[in-house]
């Protein structure tokens, strides 16, 4: 039962990174293009999906609180600076995207756009740091609390945060290649092709630093799975590169989706059966089973979510279906 909930938690967070990831990717790419019309077109390509994307995060934290209360407290407070960074980013993007077009003046819009860029960067870096921190283990003491937050400031965490930011930017580019009117999509496609090597380099750097870090090596309970998932990640990036070159935007987008979901699977599977690995006292490590809520709570949540899940997915799918395809002159413009 705990495993099912752990998988569901991972699923929600991974889907958030995939869907929210292209919001942030599009946000990051605003920095490159100063033309107001193109900026607006990029944001309205995300348009109808934007609100439905970030709720995956809200729901993931809800599951974390309901099904893994102990983990919730230690995870969030133990990674305080990283979570703060991600949260600030999420708030800035949420407000920036929705409010940028409310003032009519171009100057005010440009200022909001800068906020969206900064927010997107903070969100991507912050979530990258949280994932890396999990893989690196935390100074969890025998009393069950994480000591301090300085454990986060290592080269591995920094490199992994950058890698996630690069993945997110690439993902935003493949999304726009798929969504924008065909004429505008071509330049974004070329950009995507140039972003793949950047993503590969940063992922490579994070891997190298991870291998050099004694903490990461010690925390990895399932090194084989880690190698397997990492090679899948690299394959996904190479696939994206090839698909962009062959003008197959759908495949390229699918590949970058996988590239953003895989890090979550990698972290979750590598430290299994633990949810938090302690770097100071191996006995203090928190297993997934210990982190979970007690059986009556899980059963109650299960009875409620099981019938609900199809409805949640159904309405999201409805949103994708209704607004599928490339945007054109007839698409509503609101952001």
């Amino acid at each position: 039962m705990e495993l099912a909930w752990y998988a569901l938690l991972g699923l929600f967070f991974a889907v958030y990174l995939v869907l929210g990831g292209y919001d942030y990717g599009v946000g990051l790419l605003l920095a490159r293009d100063t033309d107001p019309a193109r900026r607006r077109a990029a944001l309205n390509a995300v348009g109808p999906f934007f609100l439905g994307n970030e709720v995956w995060l809200v729901a993931a934290v809800g599951i974390l609180f309901g099904a893994f209360p102990v983990l919730e407290g230690e995870l969030l407070s133990g990674f305080y600076p990283a979570v703060l960074c991600a949260l600030t980013g999420v708030v800035l993007v949420t407000a920036g995207v929705q409010l940028r077009s409310r003032p009519a003046g171009q100057r005010a819009r440009t200022r909001w756009d800068r906020i969206v860029v900064v927010g997107s960067a903070l969100a991507a870096l912050g979530w990258g740091a949280v994932l890396a921190g999990l893989l690196q283990g935390v100074p969890l003491r025998a009393d069950g609390h994480v000591a301090g937050v300085t454990h986060l400031f290592t080269p591995f965490v920094a490199a992994a945060a950058l890698a996630v930011a690069a993945l997110v930017a690439l993902h935003g580019a493949t999304f726009l290649t798929l969504r924008l009117p065909a004429a505008d999509a071509a330049p974004v496609g070329r950009l995507a092709a140039r972003l793949v090597p950047v993503a590969l380099t940063t992922v490579g750097a994070a891997t190298a630093l991870g291998l050099l870090s004694a903490d990461v090596r010690a925390a990895a309970q399932q090194p084989l799975v880690a190698v397997l998932l990492l090679s899948l990640l690299v394959t996904a990036l190479l696939t994206a590169r090839a698909a962009v070159a062959r003008r197959r935007p759908g495949l390229a987008f699918a590949a970058t989706c996988a590239a953003l979901a895989l890090p979550v699977a990698l972290v979750g599977a590598t430290i299994w059966p633990y949810a938090l690995v302690s770097t100071v006292d191996p006995g203090a490590s928190l297993t997934v089973a210990d982190a979970a809520a007690s059986t009556p709570t899980l059963r109650l949540l299960g009875w409620l979510t099981l019938p609900l899940l199809p409805a949640l997915l159904g309405f999201q799918a409805m949103c994708w279906w209704v607004f599928r395809g490339r945007t054109d002159g007839r698409a509503p413009v609101y952001w």
Partner: protein
Amino acid sequence: MDTLLLARLQFATTTSIHFLFVAVTLGLVTLLVYLQTAWVITNKPVYERLTRFWGQLYVINYVLGIATGIVMEFQFGLNWSGLSRYVGNVFGAPLAIETLVAFFLESTFLGMWIFGWHRLRRGVHLALLWGVAITAYASAFWIMVANSWLQNPVGYEVRDGVAHLTDFSALLDNPTFRMALGHVVTAALLVGGMLMAAVSAWHLVRRTPDFALHRKGLRIGLVTSAVAISFVQGFGFAQFFAIGDVQPTKFGDDPAAAPLIADWTARFGPGDYTPPALANVGLGFMILIGFTLGLLWLMLPLLWRDWVIRLRVPLWILQFALPLPFVALILGWIAREVGRQPWAAYGLLPVEQAVSPVSPWLMLTSLIGFSLLLGTLAVTNWVLLARHAARGAHDPALGRQPDQPPADPHPEPAFA
């Protein structure tokens, strides 16, 4: 510096900002459902224009509800890790249900509603708004279940120092829940109604061209707030019965308080088990505001032959009264939450065990950071709301035809 105090301040700041916005969300969405349904049924253009105008204000307001809501959700884990550790098995359940049952669908529906004008069939588009409203009420329901449990923990047993869920239905039967939910929901309706009445009154005083439209807004807003305030008063007084039964320390001079405090002293050690004086200060003011707003009923007869508008004075009163319900909202919450001190969960978990063991400097950074961030966003949002309200129903961006360029935002007044 004290981590606990900083964490409490941060919670109080962020929830207060959150609530100022979500109360408007809950109130306005109810009125929007009425407006859009009326449009679909009667096909009258005035309802379409009202829906777009008020829908635009609603959507702008919604942004801060989300932004602050997300911060609040994370705050439980960041600052109150003891809460999840000791009572998470019980308290976490309604919160998890809330996110899955309510927010998830609410935001999905809202995104489709905003971008669905001219694209979806009218009935589907209307159904989406109904979906948004129903899920908004569901979120208020579940968050109040969670909050009421902190006020009066029920349906649990403590094993190995941790609370475990034994009876979920007890959470829904909680005496601190029902009347509070009614009070909160009707207060939100009051806020929405007064906002609509006040904005319409502003336009009527200024004689903007849209007389018929703002007249309608004024009437709907006024009737809604008058009906709502009576329910607010009813549910408000009804709450005192529940409080007297389960929280004798809350409002002082209750004979049941002394034995309870003696019991706590025996179990948790000596300490100050009475809430700070601040808790009771606001309560009286809120009730005063509640009675004052009851006078809204006096304006209803003036709807006859538009005397409210012709006399002018009522229009000015409505505009000046607008801050009152917002002040009452915050005062009410301070009474409820500060009155529960020093407990995070009443009689079960003291606040100092609930707070995360992080360094005070980190807590201070996050307090200052989030207060500045959310405070700035809140002020910006109100400015945007005021500007859009003042611009009138001329040509809101919401629901504009995709191929139509924005119209001139500054129409001439009809008669100056």
